[in-house]
């Protein structure tokens, strides 16, 4: 499933605006994304200094943290759109919620792969049953379940309704992931932002902070680009099936 969405994403990037015409906005978004991504790569690998204890592996940090942030953002968008859908019953909210959740799952998967890679070199183990890691894994499962609801059989509004309900319920895990290390005084996972009980690890310098901010910006832009693109694609699919139905109806007469 995960590879599936990833592939879809890849093809999204490749198949350029064949069908999509119209506003300038997506192009600007694409341009901005490209620029910031390049900038962040520069910042990460050349501008910022190498961390003292961990060395080059620490560079994962930028991808790790910024994709985590993007995942949170994506799920937040799903959450908000789910509420809006239940209130307004407009299909567009549902589409946004769905696409955003899919992208969020991809970002969570990135966190769940970069994390262990990092962990192997710094904690010398791939995985530990530690609050943040566990809750992140749970988060991934929750949104996989969300996607499974979308795959149910039935008319779209039923699926949209049920998925929206689950999108609201499931979001509760996001703050839990965020606060996990702050509540449970994790031995492993470092805290950088805010003041947790054990202010260790991290050791972030100005250049690193800057690089981090730029890479977060880059990934956020990438996220909005993907979201916009995915929603377009989904809308197209809906339209095609509407035309199909219309054709069939005409045939029926």
């Amino acid at each position: 499933m995960n590879t599936n969405t990833a592939r879809k994403q890849a093809s999204l990037l490749k198949t350029e605006p064949v069908a999509e015409k119209g506003t300038l906005f997506p192009k600007i978004l694409l341009g901005a994304t490209a620029v910031t991504v390049l900038a962040s790569i520069y910042m990460i690998f050349i501008f910022s200094e190498v961390e003292k204890t961990m060395g080059v592996v620490q560079k994962i940090f930028y991808f790790h943290v910024s994709s985590a942030w993007c995942a949170f953002l994506a799920f937040f968008v799903t959450f908000v759109c789910s509420i809006l859908y239940l209130a307004k019953r407009k299909r567009i909210f549902d589409t946004y919620a769905y696409v955003s959740a899919e992208i969020g799952v991809v970002f969570t998967s990135i966190v769940l792969t970069t994390g262990p890679i990092w962990a192997k070199s710094s904690w010398n183990t791939w995985w530990a049953w530690e609050p943040r890691l566990t809750t992140t894994l749970i988060l991934w499962f929750i949104y996989m379940a969300y996607i499974m609801i979308r795959q149910m059989d039935g008319v779209w509004d039923k699926k949209a309704r049920l998925a929206a309900v689950f999108g609201i319920l499931g979001f509760i895990d996001v703050p839990i992931v965020f606060f996990a290390i702050r509540w449970w005084q994790s031995k492993f996972h470092p805290i950088v932002f805010g003041n947790g009980p054990s202010q260790k690890g991290g050791g972030i310098t100005h250049t690193m902070l800057l690089a981090l901010l730029v890479s977060i910006a880059a990934l956020t832009l990438l996220y909005s680009y993907l979201l916009q693109k995915g929603v377009n694609l989904e809308n197209m699919r809906i339209k095609v099936s509407q035309y199909k139905e219309k054709l069939r109806e005409d045939m029926e007469k």
Partner: protein
């Protein structure tokens, strides 16, 4: 609203009393789990004690799912669910009624199977019994309330039996983690009672948040 919920719960429990199917499955499954674990571990061996909290919650979770699955699927025959939906009762009454029925069932299962477990593993918990009971009750409460809600949700699907665990496990995992930890502390390490209480508070908070949420959202789930 409460009246309707009680009516519904009564109906479910009565029909369960008639057929005894679900309860029997749950209890026997619980017995089986205990049996399997008593093979895996020598009950006399002291180190294996550490497993017991886990076994308790494995029983509750899996037996619970068997019951939850049935709870809404049984309303599909003759579309009796529609009968409830067109009746002048709120969706939340239906949720509450089903919740009460499921909760009493799981309580019966616990009541029957846990003494058996303790007997087998020769466990004495008299002193901390109220705490243990508290953990059991609020843990099951959270698990079953979320479970009832998600069972209603997944009943819409063709393969609801498979979908329910998929939805339920991740959402309830904080409760389960908390409950296992709290149980472990209470049963084996009572000195750290304060940290058990922290877990219990966490579960309680989670319970309350989700119960309220489910109560609000069930309206949207039970539209046809």
């Amino acid at each position: 609203m409460l009246r309707a919920a009680l009516l519904l719960a009564k109906k479910d429990l009565l029909s369960e009393l008639k057929t005894k199917q679900v309860l029997a499955t749950m209890i026997i499954f619980a017995g089986l789990v205990i049996l399997v674990f008593s093979f895996a571990f020598d009950p006399a061996n002291n180190t294996t004690r550490a497993v017991i909290p886990g076994v308790i919650w494995v029983i509750i979770v899996f037996a619970g799912i068997l019951g939850l699955n049935r709870s809404f699927i049984s309303e599909q025959r003759n579309d009796t669910m529609h009968g409830l939906l067109i009746a002048p009762m709120e969706a939340s009454s239906i949720f509450l009624g089903k919740f009460l029925a499921n909760f009493s069932m799981i309580m019966i299962v616990e009541l029957v199977s846990l003494p058996f477990l303790f007997l087998l593993f020769d466990f004495h918990i008299l002193g901390y019994f109220p705490y243990f009971l508290l953990v059991l009750v609020i843990g099951s409460f959270g698990f079953i309330s979320i479970g009832t809600f998600l069972a209603a949700l997944s009943a819409n699907s063709k393969s609801s039996e498979m979908l329910l665990p998929l939805l339920l496990f991740p959402v309830t995992s904080p409760i389960l983690i908390g409950a296992v930890q709290a149980t472990r502390i209470i049963l084996t390490n009572i000195e750290k009672l304060s940290s058990a209480m922290a877990w219990i508070q966490l579960i309680a908070a989670y319970d309350v948040i989700f119960f309220v949420l489910c109560f609000i959202l069930i309206d949207y789930v039970l539209e046809v």
